[in-house]
């Protein structure tokens, strides 16, 4: 029998705010253990939570990015359970009235090749609720230590509907979430830093069935490959159970990335009773409609909307947009360069997607030079494209100019001037050079006369050589045609 998977994700995203969710302590990653704490974070007797408005607004923005509803009021509940990483032994969260309801995420599945756009789907969101992150336990041979630096970091849990049907769709959802959240400055979504973490609910059923089978929740999926592999493993495992005539029991399973299998953590019967109740220390949050609308007005363009616009408005090929649009920093770089010189978006985009990316990779052993460390600005690329378009620099020489400006941060016009690379408009000199070249290559000249324009290339090389690369290839063509065809 053919089986189909039904998958829903719960994606935890650490919000980008300066301070923590309920107290003014900075949030961060990689600090000395227990330095990002205070009496509130440590859950000392007598402390009280105070809402971080920035986390509220980031959550509202997330809702707006995905077309969700932002109810006028959201409330806080306590989720009670004992664990050493939880300083109060309860977590402040939103059970009944979350900050974001509904919405949907557009995802793109892998296409047949990387040059071809894949299928797009819309995955519905159930809701997103705001909560506080917990600390981190580090286990050693004889004891365990707790680091509360992460405790209290604003955490948005985004819960999808069970609309996903394959590991690839789950991965595509995470990628789309990440692209959009990073672009809007809501989260950095770095899975290695735990800024984006994922639990997956998976069940399988016969292809085309309209009922849902028992699901298993998988915890600890903290990388893209983990999500893909764990879901794929779990689909196979459950399908095998049904094939053997068994039934899948509802349970929580842990994914072990090293051994590549999921193992049972606890069954439904063993599930915690979290004894949720409304938190008496925090007031309900009222979200003024004017503020929500103001936040909506400031949102950046959606990633796929921007991609469609570039393809339509600037005639960009899909591959170019998949480089520029899927990386928030590159698309912003492009937008700024284009704003400075709007006559040739495609050339600007190509320089960013090709030359810039190549140079960023060149100096790094692993990965790309961070955009924040670039010496060049969007303005450099705008200027470079402009002087090429003005005929002052050949594309051929532009490659070297690019490398030079990337390494030094000098303006392209200054480099051109300094190195004497200005393209020369000396048609008399060029005509002389070309006459000589034609005399030396009568076969090519005959081909051109016979209408084979490609043969002109035989004269471009010598012209470049004689002018040390400053000849304008277009001009070379025109002169050759004039000389040969009259």
């Amino acid at each position: 029998m053919e089986y189909e998977a039904v998958i829903g994700l719960e994606v935890h995203v650490q919000l980008k705010t300066r301070t923590k969710m309920f107290t003014r302590v900075e949030q961060g990653f990689g600090h000395e253990p227990n330095t990002l704490t205070n009496p509130v974070i440590m859950g000392l007797p007598g402390v009280l939570p105070v809402l971080n408005l920035a986390a509220i607004e980031q959550s509202v923005r997330m809702g707006l990015v995905f077309g969700a509803e932002v109810p006028e009021v959201c409330r806080w509940d306590r989720k009670n359970y004992f664990y050493p990483d939880s300083p109060k032994n309860y977590q402040l969260t939103q059970l009944h009235e979350p900050i974001v309801v509904g919405g949907e995420v557009e995802i793109e599945l892998p296409g047949p090749s990387r040059n071809v756009m894949g299928e797009h789907k819309h995955i519905r969101l159930d809701h997103a609720h705001l909560e506080e992150d917990v600390g981190k336990l580090n286990h050693y041979d004889f004891d365990s230590l707790v680091d509360y630096n992460r405790a209290g970091t604003p955490l948005l849990e985004i819960v999808t509907q069970p609309d996903l049907r394959s590991p690839e769709e789950a991965v595509a959802l995470l990628q789309s979430l990440r692209m959009h959240l990073v672009a809007a400055g809501i989260s950095d979504c770095d899975m290695e830093k735990g800024q984006m973490r994922c639990d997956a609910n998976v069940s399988v059923r016969p292809q085309g069935a309209d009922y849902l089978n028992k699901r298993c929740e998988m915890k600890n999926l903290n990388s893209i490959s983990g999500v893909r592999n764990a879901i794929a493993y779990e689909i196979r495992r459950q399908a095998k159970v049904y094939e053997k005539g068994g039934t899948v029991i509802q349970e929580t399973r842990r994914w072990d990335a090293e051994s590549g299998v999921t193992t049972s953590m606890r069954s439904k019967e063993e599930a915690h009773d979290y004894r949720y109740f409304p938190d008496p220390d925090l007031m309900p949050v009222r979200l003024p409609r004017e503020r929500v609308e103001a936040l909506r007005a400031e949102l950046p363009e959606g990633v796929f909307d921007q991609q469609r616009r570039y393809m339509e408005q600037y005639d960009f090929p899909y591959t170019l947009t998949s480089v520029i649009c899927y990386d928030f920093e590159l698309s912003r770089f492009f937008e700024l360069a284009h704003a400075e010189y709007d006559q040739n978006p495609k050339a600007i985009a190509n320089y960013i997607a090709n030359e810039l990316q190549r140079e960023r990779a060149a100096g790094e052993e692993d990965g790309l030079l961070p955009m924040s460390q670039l010496l060049i600005t969007p303005s450099h690329i705008a200027e470079l494209v402009r002087i090429i378009d003005e005929g002052k620099l050949t594309k051929h020489l532009a490659k070297d100019v690019f490398t030079e400006m990337f390494q030094t941060g000098k303006r392209p016009a200054a480099i051109v001037k300094e190195k004497g690379l200005e393209q020369e408009d000396n048609s008399d000199e060029l005509e002389g050079i070309l006459k000589e070249a034609i005399a030396k290559n009568q076969k090519a000249a005959d081909d051109v006369r016979a209408g084979n324009e490609k043969a002109i290339n035989a004269f471009v090389g010598p012209a470049m050589k004689a002018t040390k690369g400053k000849a304008n290839p277009q001009q070379v063509r025109e002169i050759v045609l004039k000389l040969l065809n009259g």
Binding site: P39, P45, G46, P49, R78, N89, Y90, R275, F277, D281
Partner: protein, 488 residues
Amino acid sequence: MATDLIWQSATALSALLEKGEVTSRDLTEAFIARAQAVEPSVHAYLDLHTDYALEQADQADQRRQLGQVRGPLDGIPVSLKNVISIKDLPLTAASKMLEPFVSPYDATTTLKLKNAGAVLLGRLNMDEFAMGSSCENSAFGPTFNPWDTERIPGGSSGGSAACVAAGETPLSLGSDTGGSIRQPASLCGIVGMKPTYGLVSRYGLAAFASSLDQIGPMAHTVEDAALLLQTIAGYDPLDSTSFNTSIPDYRAALQEAPKKWRLGVPTEFFGEGLDPEVKEAVQRAIQWYEAQGCEIVEISLPHNELSVPVYYVLAPAEASSNLARYDGVRYGHRSSEAKDAIDLYFKSRGEGFGPEVKRRILLGTYVLSSGYYDAYYLRAQKVRTLIRNDYLKAFEQVDAILTPTSPTAAFKLGEKKDDPLSMYLADIYTISVNLAGLPGLSMPCGFTQDKLPIGLQVIGQPFKESELFQIAHAYEQAHDWKTTHPNL
């Protein structure tokens, strides 16, 4: 000299300081000497920090010499219930669980007292985590009623009440979740006041039941209570439930001529269970108001009889969660017997908490459990609204409400210790005031034949503390209960 000072009101002491007749060191030494003399029979203090207090007194005297007096409380001793945090001092909540804990921060009320120049004299005994009505639930031994040391002082702020009643401090702070300021004030013959929920910051008050807890003043006189409340009241950005409202000048309001208030008397508060001597004293007080031209209106608070069961669902529910942080992992008592993390929880909490705290944690855990939540917690919240609505309806007719504070005068140590239900009924007249979030005040209105104090409770409208003080002050001015002191 010293014996004169210890029975003075804080207001009078403040005047003496201002005239230069005494120094803050004189006062502080007098109260320390008194405490050292009577503590063996009262045990109001868990911790009398003598050196710390004298240091503050000297600083206050220095300020006075330099003309930098911070206000009427500058140089006046104040003692705090050991559930309000003072930076760098132990905070135990009278529990073994917190016995080794030293707080690294000041509660907002502590900070306000420090800023006002008050001399923080010591930390007062209480029922463990403020759970109890007799002060017998302290892990460090009970406090004794200064009027009869075989009797309890009331609770949970028993130390705070006994301390003022015994002349060991002119002012103290208590906390009141279901009557924990007013009931011991009544049983010890002093003034105790629970402000409107949200008037005083809870930041730094080790939480018992967050939606009910309020810190409030305890003193010899209404004016002193007003003075202390003036200092600690006000919006605090660190407490999201604190109310952003301007604080009127409570003491100035006391200078106004008494009005002919309309005062409600709820019939439900004078029925079965009320001691006849208490009933008579309270009725005499009501008659006094009537004689002054106040209109006495019989009112009904029909849901008040449900307030004890509602309270014993909601308060334990919140407590079970609030007290979860005491787990032996980060601070406080940690069992040395534990084998692993889970065992650490069981053993540390098993060893650290006393029986009443455990009883309430179990109760609270039960009522929040899945399958029971709707029947208990949710139902109790609905009844809480009905109780509040009863009061709001009554306040359409009356300015304030007069009732007994406690159904009986102080009972004997051990009398109710093993009967939690009868102990819980000691708060039958005070609990609904917390459930409704209203201000309430208890003041002396007589003595039993055994020379035990009786308290009158005045319940006011939300944030109308000024009027509440005026009503109480008028009665106090015409009576001299406060001139009788316990014979220790």
